[in-house]
Symmetry: D2
Subunit: 362 residues, 4 copies
């Protein structure tokens, strides 16, 4: 049993970690921190926890709903950091110094290039030296490296959806570096703090685009598609040209990215068929427990509450484009579920440990 802290547990990624870790046999949450809620018990902040966590067959419970929120985390083996960027990096530095392994759910260690970070996040990076040791926590791409680091930079939700959708095509070298990602997310992606955009009467029955002048998940996607192309021995000949537009949907959970990429033609001017591309995708994800290539348009609802991602590639022969629809639950595979998948890798556990629940449907 490893001891675990959750820093800023009062975020949605924090409470989602609680929900998922309650099913985990090897991580025990012994410390949780917050900011305005210090001194309160978990089940005061999250009343659904008053149901308690029934413990089965003599198993040691891994979550205590009466745990009191503190300002600083206790010493633990592992910590999940759910703070906003900048604040996260400061907490991470302290935790690493105490010998704690960290899965950081913020954006602070995702971009390997300090200049890119500072361009997009508009402030000096608090701990640039750590960028070299941090591993990008997309398990499907960095499974080999993650066990050897003590700092995992957990990817963003739009990012995970888009990269999982596009990386097989880049690895196989079948598309030009000319990509449009139209991403649609549920509102929990905006976090737990109320605001006008998330006020029910405004957000209900409404669809809108946001971040049109540039969203911070874009450079993260670009960085990893370059890696995917390299990993597949099809390094990009020219610079990536990505347009990424996120949209807010009137629903709580779920994210769906529709990705459009220019297909390369072969020497005869022919394009791969949908069947060929699907075979290539199925092969790429053949051994993945959480990524599933399907032959019909997937629904975000298939993933509600689970760590699964569904991917549907289809060739638009007329327009010579590859369309890929990729979807997952933004709070699970797009955040806290992936964080646990990373933690499992950090400790040599099977990746699916604690993550085997099916989604809630309907």
């Amino acid at each position: 049993m490893m001891t675990v802290s959750i820093v800023n547990v009062t975020s949605y990624t924090g409470s989602e970690l609680l929900r998922l870790l309650a099913q985990h046999p090897h991580f025990e949450v012994i410390s949780v921190t917050g900011r305005s809620t210090v001194g309160k018990r978990l089940d005061e902040v999250f009343p659904f926890l008053r149901a308690g966590v029934p413990t089965l067959e003599g198993r040691h419970p891994t979550i205590d709903p009466r745990l009191v929120i503190t300002e600083e985390p206790a010493q633990t083996d592992l910590s999940f950091v759910c703070l906003p960027h900048a604040a996260a990096a400061e907490a991470v530095v302290k935790l690493l110094q105490k010998g704690t392994k960290v899965v950081d759910l913020s954006a602070d260690f995702r971009l390997r290039d300090v200049a890119t970070y500072e361009e997009w996040y508009k402030h000096t990076h608090p701990a640039p030296a750590l960028l070299e040791t941090a591993v990008y926590g997309l398990c499907e791409m960095y499974r080999e490296q993650i066990p050897h680091t003590s700092l995992v930079a957990n990817p963003g939700c739009h990012t995970t959806t888009a990269i999982l959708g596009l990386s097989p095509a880049f690895a196989a070298g079948i598309v030009n570096p000319d990509v449009i990602i139209d991403s649609k997310t549920g509102i929990s992606g905006g976090g737990r703090n109320p605001g006008p955009s998330y006020h029910f009467p405004e957000a209900d029955e409404d669809v809108s685009a946001y971040g049109l002048s540039g969203h911070r998940h874009m450079p993260e996607i670009a960085q990893e598609l370059v890696v995917a192309a390299q990993q597949g021995d099809h390094p990009l000949a020219t610079e990536l040209r990505i347009t990424f537009v996120p949209h807010l949907m009137p629903m709580t959970r779920g994210i769906l990215a529709t990705c459009y990429a220019d297909l390369k033609q072969d020497e005869n001017g022919d394009l791969p068929t949908t069947a060929e591309v699907r075979a290539l995708y199925e092969n790429y994800y053949a051994n993945e427990p959480f990524v599933h290539v399907v032959d019909q348009a997937p629904h975000t609802k298939w993933t509600y509450g689970s760590n699964h991602c569904f991917i549907y590639p289809i060739v638009d022969q007329r327009a010579k484009r590859l369309i890929i629809v990729s979807c997952l639950d933004n709070l699970v595979k797009g955040a806290s579920g992936q964080a646990i998948q990373n933690a499992n890798l950090l400790y040599g556990l099977p990746e699916i440990t604690g993550l085997s629940s099916l989604g809630v449907h309907p």
Copy 2:
């Protein structure tokens, strides 16, 4: 490991059994039946099952998403019957004859009085003799009897919510048999068949009452409140006078009953206080793993996907009434979760086996 069949798996209660049983260590689903879907695989009917069911730590998987739907169930130890009433009774008779234990999710064996059944369901009961051996599957009331039957009549969703909310007050004899139950349910309670009332553009952003001329869950509630009063040694002196009105809410899951009962005054004309009533409720449910008395108005969302029920009693001193708000997930504690709780009792397993997940929040 017990073998299990699910009869009419293509209903929402059927698919919810699949979801929950995938987490159950002792029940293996080896047979599923349907009607228009015979010959299809489970994951063709329910594409979210294409994620498969990851199996942990050498455990035997209890669900195979590639199981083919048949017309008749195979021989198993246990069967969950998810057919509509009348059709259910016929299937139950056959299963019992083959020595299979049955948890019937239909209404066919809930009412102990044949005449009442025939009055409300408008047809001759297909197997009246079984009414004597069937046990009403509200575990909190019939925990002692359930292990000794081979036929459990799983309660309805409105019924479970209302009875759990009202029975402590009836058992304690603090209310007159004068009750109004205003119940609000999510739309999955209407089943998986599309129809005008459940068509998204009609049901979205809409609230309406239904069943105003009499809903079949009413006699079921009446029957069990009489029992609760008897169990508590406060048998009713006069006939129950219940008004029950269900309402459709624009949401998928969740049911919340607001129950109003006239409080008895003591010899000094005094009413119990909210604190006294809450203490009484807490005591009544002290050892229940799934029923939780809380001190603030509960939200259906606290129960999303879980088997928990939250109950909040409060005294309206001005109007001399007891108000009880009770809520749960209509597909879990209101149907398939409770069915598994009953199955656990049938086989001497801890009631919480396979039901320990927290709800999905937000």
Copy 3:
């Protein structure tokens, strides 16, 4: 053409007044006030107003989307006050002193008894003398008085729904003063300020009760049911015993009250039939342009964006109760539409002026 100001236009009742007054031929909005938005144009605060207000057939436009929000209202013939209670009364006093007629959408002048006001609103009434001259703005009950006042106290949304549903029964003396009102409202009723209860991820897919220890609309309902009984020559013999519980529904607009009242039996112990009660209701509302008695359970969606109210009375013979389902749009007949109906009465205009649109459906 009368000149109009809207005080605190940045509320939802304020913007709803703008939407409706844009269709009104006789009221021209020349002044709008706000608090944190002073200096901004209307269409900066409400971007949907950028569509402008197309003006037909040489009509003078009654709304200018580029109107600048000020701190104090300009001198006008009429003012709609959309401030919270207490603040409203202070604004009303000033407006009346300047000779402006006022429709006050706050609760400040609804209760005729100062002590009751101060008990429920927990502060000293800022202008108790005005309570005598204010007229309660439920047009269906006070149509004769409204033209003679200069201060109309526009009723609350729960209140309007419940009183319209119950007053025919009280006026006819067919029910005992023993009433339960279970009211369900859309979230716009909570106003335009974001907060945890209205945060989309919390409020979506959720139903909950609130105000269980006493909601301020209760005394308002009680006050008017007593009047309805008197108006119908069936004054109450005993004190009203009302329980009122409001609930929050996952939708933007719409309110539906399910009202339960004990029916009186005649000398033979008989109850009126549903047909008899419906005839009585139809007669009571025979000439009302906005209140419609129907013979099936009504849906809030029938009223979306319109000033209509649908009422469905049904007798529960078994439990000897009258059930009345009443619904309307909380922002129209429950607030701003009713305010315009009142303003029409103040100026001798047909009540339906500017209010003739059908609801948006689906």
Copy 4:
């Protein structure tokens, strides 16, 4: 006063015509047809019509909610045809023969090329000769031609949104014929017939793409973008390469298209700025009553129930693309509102007649 029939009034476009025509001073609906509802009154099929249509200031009412649905339309000046394709063409032929002008809301006369029609709709066109006389009813493009035809082919909802968004760029020749349209629609676009995809528990909290192997609105968009380019004296040098993917959103009304087009560079390799493109768009739509170019991302909710369209163009300098977000209400500007706008043109009325309402917000 012109007489009007609505063929297949029981569709959502039919009922929306009723709602809008109730506000129209010059069109009187005297005949409505249906299929399974023949013999019923309008307010039996659409209970919200039981509110009646209050008539103001001596105006003649234009809708009678008690109108009986017939199988065949009566003789009228004008007919709105709301049938599915193929059935529509047959009805249109008969109506034209009787001298009735027709606004056809189906797809039957939108494509000018018979072969394209038959390729996409998979059947022989029932009346190919009429394709020459029909005018495509996008008022913003065909305002001059519509008054001279007797058959208007009302555009589709996705189509209207996309063409309004893209045509200024094509007319100005600033983009290459390389376009991706990611369109998101509310569920009412799927019509009034219940089905699994529109069943509330499936469609709620869900986002999915559909029509990925080719959607019939695509050739319609292509046809009109070619025209827009020609009208602007920038005819396309190469064939259009369009990818169009529609998505279903968990909401009733509203459609939002995010359009991506490759920007042309000038001789210096420079791109136009967002300000330049916006100025060009504002100029293009300067005199349009219903199309509004805005400087922030628009929300579908701004258009709820109104005939307005909001367009937001922005240049992605990094990727050298023009992004255009365009949104409207699929049942109004995307169908029935546009049909009335066309009817106004047919009779020389101001285009805004009967369409001046603001959207319902929130």
